[in-house]
Symmetry: C2
Subunit: 201 residues, 2 copies
DNA sequence: AAAGGTACATACTAGTTGGTATGCACGCAA
DNA sequence: TTGCGTGCATACCAACTAGTATGTACCTTT
């Protein structure tokens, strides 16, 4: 029955997306993988057919969901020929716009996993670092191109700025999360926009 | 035997400090309270004599260790009559100075707990929020006093700046943690200093 | 010195967690 | 049509986790 074939074909991805949601809510250590699949009317048999261990679920979530999702924007930053500061500011404004109460209360999935897993699981840490590194390089390169094109102040260090930008961005998610406050998050994003604007030549 | 009496007098605090250390390493969900006390040659009897539940251990750690520790500096900020921007910068420089590889790898204890516990435990979240609120108000008030004294630009919003400052600070811990890089943390602290300097009148 | 509270130690336990072992239905290639 | 791989379902399990129940030595109060 081809309906079944279609269903089977994406069982793994359906599981993965639910795991992503549960990790977002409860953290990786709080993830109860068997309960998540039970909630989908799937048994542990299916789960352990696709994933050899709990850790592999977390790694797959980072690798197949979080990483492509986060790097999509930053890759666009590298290919475009617009003003890098405008592009980065547009991204900040977009984030401000789409974040609602629930997303703020749950926090940034990437930041959550970094804080929880980096110190206790080196495999996790390296996967998460590769995502951050990708974002970091895209921003730094965009600023460098901006400098070369005379659009960005020459006396700033693109690497330092990129690092500070990511820190402020993720930190804003973190502080807004404990406050459960979308306005606080937007206020932080406004300040970050002002900071980026100050780099314009 | 008074030796025993002295030992007994601070058993609770000794347990609490070890719990703080283990939570710093493994997170609250990763805390194995019985193993921590066993490591101190103390049994579960003593542990549950002082703490009714695992949650109460975490709350006590926030309330009795993290909160006083973090608010110490910020209270000083409120009582002093120096230049608020110099004081805040001095704090940033001090943080830069004392953070070593291990501390960076483990991250900021306050930030760690915020990211892990805020979404899943409201009691925790409110305790953690009270710490952040305390820091936030001290910084905002210091900036307001600076404005009144003509030391800080009038066109900045002290609340927005205080919020952004805390976000950047905690975010810098988070990003440095996944990078396991003290230089990255120091670079972020330098940028934060520059940002604070830009507020001087 | 009797009584009661404090400060633990020891032993036990229900429920959970992260799996494993096994079976079996189905599609497909030989 | 037979054998084999894929895609699950069911049942089982050892270790762990967060406690509880109970006992007891010591100290203090009366």
């Amino acid at each position: 029955m081809y309906l079944c074939a279609v269903k089977n074909a994406d069982t793994r991805e359906r599981i993965l997306h639910r795991m992503y949601g549960d990790i977002h809510k409860n953290g990786f250590q709080g993830l109860r993988a068997d309960k998540v699949v039970a909630d989908m009317d799937i048994t542990k048999g299916a789960l352990y057919h696709y994933f050899p261990s709990k850790q592999s679920i977390g790694i797959a979530v980072v690798d197949e969901i979080i990483k492509p999702n986060y790097l999509a924007f930053y890759r666009a930053l590298n290919q475009s020929i617009g003003h890098p500061i405008d592009q980065i500011k547009a991204h900040i404004v977009e984030l401000s716009r789409i974040m609602d109460d629930e997303n703020i209360a749950l926090g940034c999935p990437l930041n959550n996993l970094i804080q929880e897993m980096s110190p206790i699981d080196e495999v996790f840490r390296l996967q998460l670092k590769s995502v951050i590194d990708g974002m970091y390089r895209s921003v730094a390169d965009a600023l460098r191109r901006g400098q070369a094109a005379g659009l960005v102040k020459e006396n700033i260090d693109p690497d330092a700025v990129a690092n500070f930008y990511l820190s402020s961005l993720e930190g804003s998610f973190g502080i807004a999360k404990v406050q459960k406050s979308v306005p606080m998050f937007r206020s932080s994003m406004d300040m970050l926009c002002q900071f980026m604007e100050s780099l314009r030549k």
